[in-house]
Chain length 161, copies 2
DNA sequence: TGTAGATAGTTAGTCTAGCAAACAATATTT
DNA sequence: AAATATTGTTTGCTAGACTAACTATCTACA
């Protein structure tokens, strides 16, 4: 492991002055991206043994929480389009973690359910997730974590009223 | 534009109880990913005329802020590896937005600088960024936005002390 | 009822991005 | 002087996001 001599923290907490964007340090989007990258890297490291990505683990989790869910339901919950969802489901199916079935109520839809292997993978994933979340949440008090989640969820609303 | 009949907001603000991860709704990583996705999509929409990605716009901005910066400097600031940085620089160079030069102080390094086209693209990007940030920050008070940035930046520290 | 439009899944193709591994050239350290 | 580190580069692989087209099915309404 080589440590860079100069550790550049590309951010300052915030800047004084008016909110216009003279400085990249004040761009919320920039910070979301950096944070996402850091979280992604830690996730990948934590899950390297399991060989599951964030998306894949989330899909396993959601399918387990919602048996017989259709791809479109997954897509909505994870805010992905159908094509992307297909690709992810295909990968998980190829590894034998879930199976597609026929919906009894809607001929267009299929049902998704975990296999035993899938359930086992999810169980391992939840253990790893605990470690990952610990890494994340160690940076925040419980109250702060709640606040962070609440603030992040505001991005997923259609439009602020 | 077809609107889904059922709009699924995949989150609840937070859940009561202890912080262990029985529920995907309490996973910070999950929310970061969703938020990042939403921000990314709005960015892409806002920047569709300019045909610039988040990364590309950020690189233009940083090169403008730091003339003669080397690729490795950019990589550190944006937390990318060298290979990824290469690819992004190559794309921007191919479009004539920046040029590579020779560093006078270190034979291994190259200098990056914007061309006139690059400066022009950045100027347009900053205008679009203003719109994008407005979309983002409309969800937050000024104080909340500052808090959010501060909290997000905690992910980019090595380890919490 | 019958038809037009919406929805769900699928496939193919394109693009960005991340990363590992290797290599050459240059700097730094010992 | 030799060993090690750093920087840029190339190649190859992977995941993921998106568009466009197509089929099958369902829904709505004239």
């Amino acid at each position: 492991m080589t440590r860079p001599k100069e550790i550049l923290i590309p951010v300052t907490p915030y800047a004084e002055g008016d909110p216009d964007i003279g400085d990249i340090k004040n761009i919320v989007g920039f910070h979301i991206r950096l944070a996402h990258g850091a979280v992604y890297r830690n996730f990948t490291e934590t899950f390297s043994d399991l060989e599951l990505t964030q998306k894949q683990a989330s899909v396993l989790w959601l399918v387990d929480d919602h048996p017989d869910i259709a791809q479109i339901g997954l897509a909505r919950r994870m805010q992905m389009d159908r094509a992307t969802t297909m690709a992810i489901i295909n990968r998980l199916q190829k590894r034998g973690f879930l199976v597609r079935g026929k919906s009894k109520t809607d001929g267009r839809k299929q049902t998704l359910n975990l296999t035993n292997d899938g359930r086992q993978a999810l169980a391992s994933a939840k253990v790893a997730m605990q470690k990952h979340e610990k890494w994340l949440q160690s940076r925040f008090s419980k109250k702060e974590a709640e606040m962070l989640i609440e603030m992040l969820s505001r991005f997923n609303t259609e439009k602020p009223v």
